[in-house]
C-alpha cells in the first residue's frame, strides 16, 4: 500500500514510502534524517566495494578507505588473505592509518603506540605493567569486517548475517567476468585514481551510471572532441540492440555498444580505430600477434557496457566508479583507471594510451566529469523546489520486457536501472 505524495504529507511519510515504483520523492536527496538511516540500514547492512585486489599486490599492502562513513583499512596479510579493519585504535580511538595506500608490517597507533598485526590482532602495548589484571590482548583486536571478493573485486560488510557476496551479486557475476576481459588476455590492474566531490546526494550519482538518456546531451562536448569512429560507437540512442537489464538486488547493466559486451566474441571484421595506429605499431614491434593486438586495442575504451552495483560501485568503460556519501548533499566520487597487467613491452604502451583516454573523459578537469557533476549539482538544487512533485524514473516502463535470462529489460535510454536501484533501496529502508 502506498500513499500518494502530497505537499501536506511529503515530510511525514516514512522513508520507504518515498519510493513509489517509477517515481520517487525529491526529499530522498535533501532530508538529513533519511541520510542517517541510509548510512545504517544500507551502508552497514550490505556488501560495500572497498578495493580491487591489484591495489593490494603483496603481503603488507594496504589501502585506507570507507564503508559508508566508517574509515577502514584493507590489508593483505603474510598468508595473502585480505582483511577489512575499522581504522580505529582499541585504546582511545585514534585513527591508525592516514595514508591512502602503502606497505606496512602492521599498524602502530601514533598516540600511545599500541600495535596491531596486518589481520588486526593486538600485538604489543608499551609499558604493559598498568594493564595487569585489567586487559586481555586477545579481546582487543581491531574490529574486522566480513570481507569477500569476486573476480578481483573486494567487498566488505559490517553485517555478520547477510548472504554471501556471490549470492548478493547473483547474475552480476557473468558481467564482472565479461568486464575483466578488457585485460585483453592479461589480468586487470588499477593504474590510478581520480577523486572529486560534488554538492549533491549520493543517489544522484547512483542513478547516473545506467542513464543512457543523458549521454549525448551532457557529453556533447566530449563527443565533439573524439574522432568520428569513437563518436559513432557511442551513438546508441536509436539503436534497438542497445538495452538495459535489471539484474536484481538493485544492480543493473546498460549495454551501449552491445557488440563489445563480450570482447572474446570478436569475429575479426571490426576495423581498429585509426587513432591507435601508433600503439598498434608499438605492439607489433613488441612481437605481439595480430589477434593479440586486436584483443587489447578493441578494449581500449573498455567494454561496451556500464554495470551498476548497488550501492557504491560501478564498472564503466575502462574504469570503476566508486561513490562515498559524505552528507545528505555532499558526495565523493572516485574514478579508478584500470588496464592490463603483463610484460612491460605490452602493457607500457597500452596503459599509457589508456591513461590518456581516462584523463580525457573521467578526471576532475576531463571532458565528461565536470559536465556530469554540473548536472548532478543542479538536481540537488532543483530538488529543493516543490517537494510534492516527484522525481520521475518512469522512462520506458511500458516497454520493459523480460530478457531470455529473465532480466527486466528495456532500451538503453530507459530508466530500468534506476527503478532497480530504488526497489532495492525501498526494501532496505522498510521497517518490515
Amino acid at each position: 500500500m502506498t500513499t500518494e505524495i502530497t505537499a501536506a504529507n511529503v515530510y511525514d511519510l516514512a522513508a520507504a514510502d518515498l519510493v513509489q515504483g517509477d517515481r520517487v520523492a525529491g526529499r530522498m536527496y535533501t532530508d538529513p534524517e533519511i541520510f542517517e538511516q541510509e548510512m545504517t540500514r544500507i551502508f552497514e547492512h550490505t556488501w560495500i566495494w572497498v578495493a580491487h585486489e591489484s591495489e593490494l599486490p603483496k603481503p603488507g599492502s594496504f589501502k585506507s578507505t570507507y564503508v559508508g562513513r566508517q574509515p577502514v583499512i584493507v590489508s593483505r596479510d603474510r598468508k595473502g588473505a585480505i582483511h577489512t579493519l575499522v581504522n580505529r585504535c582499541r585504546h582511545r580511538g585514534a585513527s591508525l592509518c592516514e595514508k591512502r595506500t602503502g606497505e606496512a608490517n602492521g599498524f602502530t597507533c601514533p598516540y600511545h603506540a599500541w600495535s596491531y598485526s596486518l589481520d588486526g590482532k593486538l600485538r604489543g602495548i608499551p609499558y604493559p605493567e598498568g594493564y595487569e589484571g585489567v586487559l586481555d590482548k586477545s579481546e582487543l583486536s581491531l574490529k574486522r569486517l566480513r570481507t569477500e571478493s569476486y573476480g578481483g573485486m573486494v567487498f566488505a560488510t559490517l553485517d555478520e548475517d547477510i548472504e554471501p557476496l556471490e549470492e548478493f551479486l547473483g547474475d552480476v557475476k557473468v558481467w564482472i567476468d565479461r568486464f575483466m576481459k578488457q585485460g585483453g588476455g592479461y589480468p586487470v590492474k588499477v593504474l590510478g585514481t581520480h577523486q572529486f566531490t560534488f554538492g549533491g546526494n549520493w543517489k544522484i550519482q547512483l542513478e547516473n551510471t545506467t542513464d543512457g538518456y543523458h549521454f549525448p546531451i551532457v557529453h556533447r562536448s566530449w563527443m565533439a572532441s573524439v574522432d568520428a569512429e569513437t563518436a559513432d560507437m557511442m551513438s546508441f540512442m536509436t539503436d534497438p540492440e542497445a538495452i538495459t537489464h535489471d539484474l536484481g538486488n538493485g544492480h543493473s547493466v546498460m549495454q551501449m555498444v552491445p557488440e563489445h559486451s563480450d570482447l572474446d566474441a570478436d569475429d575479426g571484421t571490426e576495423k581498429l580505430q585509426d587513432r591507435f595506429d601508433g600503439l598498434i605499431a608499438d605492439l607489433r614491434a613488441a612481437g605481439l600477434s595480430d589477434s593479440a593486438i586486436r584483443k587489447v586495442v578493441l578494449a581500449m575504451h573498455g567494454t561496451g557496457f556500464n554495470l551498476n552495483l548497488f550501492p557504491n560501485v560501478s564498472m564503466s568503460a575502462a574504469f570503476f566508479r566508486v561513490l562515498r556519501p559524505i552528507s545528505v548533499d555532499k558526495t565523493v566520487i572516485e574514478h579508478v583507471a584500470i588496464g592490463p597487467d603483463g610484460p612491460d613491452e605490452v602493457v607500457g604502451p597500452v596503459n599509457r594510451a589508456r591513461l590518456r583516454v581516462h584523463e580525457h573523459f573521467q578526471g576532475p578537469f576531463g571532458f565528461g566529469t565536470p559536465d556530469d557533476a554540473e548536472g548532478w549539482d543542479r538536481v540537488q538544487r532543483g530538488a529543493q523546489g516543490a517537494p510534492e512533485m516527484p522525481i520521475l524514473v518512469n522512462r520506458g516502463a511500458a516497454r520493459e520486457k523480460p530478457s531470455p535470462e529473465g532480466w527486466p529489460t528495456s532500451h538503453v535510454t530507459d530508466e530500468t536501472g534506476m527503478r532497480a536501484a530504488y526497489a532495492q533501496w525501498k526494501q532496505m529502508m522498510s521497517d518490515d
Binding site: H194, T197, S221, V332, R356, E359, F365, E374
Partner: protein, 176 residues
Amino acid sequence: MTETLPDTRTDTAATSLTDPRVLRGIELAWREADLLDRKEYVAWNALYAEDGHYVIPIDPTTTDFDNTLNMVYDDARMRAMRVTRMTEGYALAAVDSATTTRTVSRFVPVEVSDAEVVLRASQVLVAFKRGRHDLWAGDVEYRIRLGATPAEDLIVLKVVRLVDSQAAVPAAGFLL
C-alpha cells in the same frame, strides 16, 4: 614529455628576479593568469609552444607524467580540443563556470639562460560559483622558451601541483 628538473627546493636562488630574462618569464606567467581569469582560451593557447605541455599531476612528486594518471596532461592536440570545449558552448560546466581570480607570486628562478627560463611560483586561485568560494592552491613550475622579442616567448611546460592533488577536488569548469 618527462623532463626531470634538478631538485632545487633547498637552493637559494642564484639569479636575481630583476634579471631581464627572469622578468620576461614572470610577465608571461602573469599574462597567462590574466587570460585564464578572463577565459580568453584562444589567446591562452597561443602562449604555448607547439611542443609544449600543460600538466596537473595527481602525484605531487612525479615527473613521469606519461606513465601516471594526471588530472590534466595536455599536448597541443588536447589543448586545442580543450579550447574548443571551453568556447563552443556545448559543455554544461564551461558555459556556467565559476568566476575566478588568481594570484601568482613567490617566484623563484630555477634555471636561467638566454634560451630558456625555468621558474617556480605559488598560485592561489579563488573560484566563486552559486554562493560558494572554492580555493585552489598549489605550486607552479613554468619552463619558458625565450624568443627574439618578449612577444615571442612561449611556455614549454607548465605543471600545477595542487596542495590537495591527492584528495578529492571539485570538478571544475575552468583551467588552473
